[in-house]
């Protein structure tokens, strides 16, 4: 029996062109996956030391660059925790609550960076000269970590606000815009999940992302104009901190550490998305091949001939 036209040569290991073997291989691989993953993954600890096994290059999305980057990121985050929680002094005005800012500023910076990258990547996808699904995957990966970091930003910010201003929430332009960005990107991720071909998904979400670039400044401006009537603009001013050298260092370290985390994640995640897309394509080819083989086998049986 010939391999049907359209399936790539050398798809899964152990395939010899017969449907039976192919499906068995897929089942075996699937079982291996869950067993293997269950025994080798350790749950992360609160201090951020995610387990990164030195597995073979083929099994995962790691390369030497990302492994080095990953180690450096963990180191940077550890040093950040040390300085932020222990070594740096409390602020003259804010007291201990300034320690929250060392994490908060890093996450808000990454959240906005992720938003910008998603927008730029979406534009790059839509622009014919640079169009490639890799841009789409970068946009998607960036949005995922962006949404998480925006949630963390809002959470840490509200805790800091509770201490400093006495309220968990304040209706000023920056806070409100961050909340809107969060919701907008949740919507963006929902649009990515709508299904269809990879190109449809890419085009749809790229357009939505660029519309968000249009919408967010409008929201920010409207809220700022709105609150200026209530003279709340001055609230944002009290985030100013008199920084001594150690505090400034810790703030910058926080920004750098979380940015490294962002780069590491986007690299890994867009590779995972590439694999998911490839698997989708293969899955379709495989399903088509299996249907064709079923048809041929049924015909064989009814005609009583062997091939």
């Amino acid at each position: 029996m010939q391999s049907p036209a359209g399936t790539e040569a050398g798809t899964e290991a152990g395939t010899d062109g017969r449907t039976g073997n192919r499906t068995t291989d897929r089942h075996t691989n699937g079982n291996e996956d869950s067993a293997h993953v269950a025994t080798t993954q350790t749950p992360p600890t609160a201090s951020g030391s995610a387990h990164r096994a030195a597995g073979s290059a083929r099994a995962g999305t790691g390369t030497r660059f990302t492994r080095v980057l990953g180690v450096l990121t963990i180191a940077a985050l550890a040093v950040l925790a040390l300085f932020a929680l222990v070594l740096s002094p409390p602020d003259v005005v804010q007291g201990e609550s300034v320690r929250i800012l060392y994490a908060h500023v890093g996450t808000v910076w990454v959240a906005y960076l992720a938003f910008i990258v998603t927008a730029v990547a979406s534009g790059a996808y839509l622009w014919k000269r640079t169009s490639s699904l890799t841009w789409d995957r970068i946009a998607g990966a960036s949005a995922e970590i962006g949404v998480l970091f925006m949630a963390i930003t809002l959470f840490t910010g509200s805790l800091w606000g509770r201490i400093t201003w006495g309220t968990f929430w304040v209706w000023d332009a920056r806070v409100t815009t961050t909340a809107f960005l969060f919701v907008t990107y949740v919507g963006y991720l929902a649009v990515r999940g709508l299904g269809g071909t990879h190109e449809q998904r890419a085009r749809r979400s790229a357009v939505v992302a660029l519309l968000a670039v249009l919408e967010i400044p409008l929201v920010h401006f409207s809220v700022r104009l709105w609150r200026s009537v209530h003279q709340d603009a001055s609230v944002a001013g009290s985030t100013d901190v008199k920084l001594d050298d150690e505090m400034l260092f810790t703030l910058l370290l926080g920004t750098v550490a979380f940015t490294m985390m962002y780069v590491w994640y986007v690299l890994h995640r867009q590779r995972v998305l590439a694999m998911e897309d490839a698997l989708d394509d293969k899955g379709l080819d495989l399903a088509l091949a299996e249907r064709r083989n079923e048809g041929l086998e049924a015909r064989d049986m009814t005609e009583g001939t062997t091939r």
Partner: protein, 44 residues
């Protein structure tokens, strides 16, 4: 330390969230990586 609860909650959220995301990324990468041949992985 004043407000220790809030401070630690912030760091657990920031670091824990990052770690969780990282763990998810690695795990998904391994699971998919086993199903695909190397030629589908341009980064190798």
């Amino acid at each position: 330390m004043d407000h220790a609860g809030f401070i630690f909650a912030s760091y657990i959220a920031a670091f824990g969230g990052s770690a969780g995301l990282a763990w998810y990324a690695i795990r998904r990468g391994r699971a998919l990586g086993r199903q695909l041949p190397d030629e589908d992985k341009p980064w190798i």
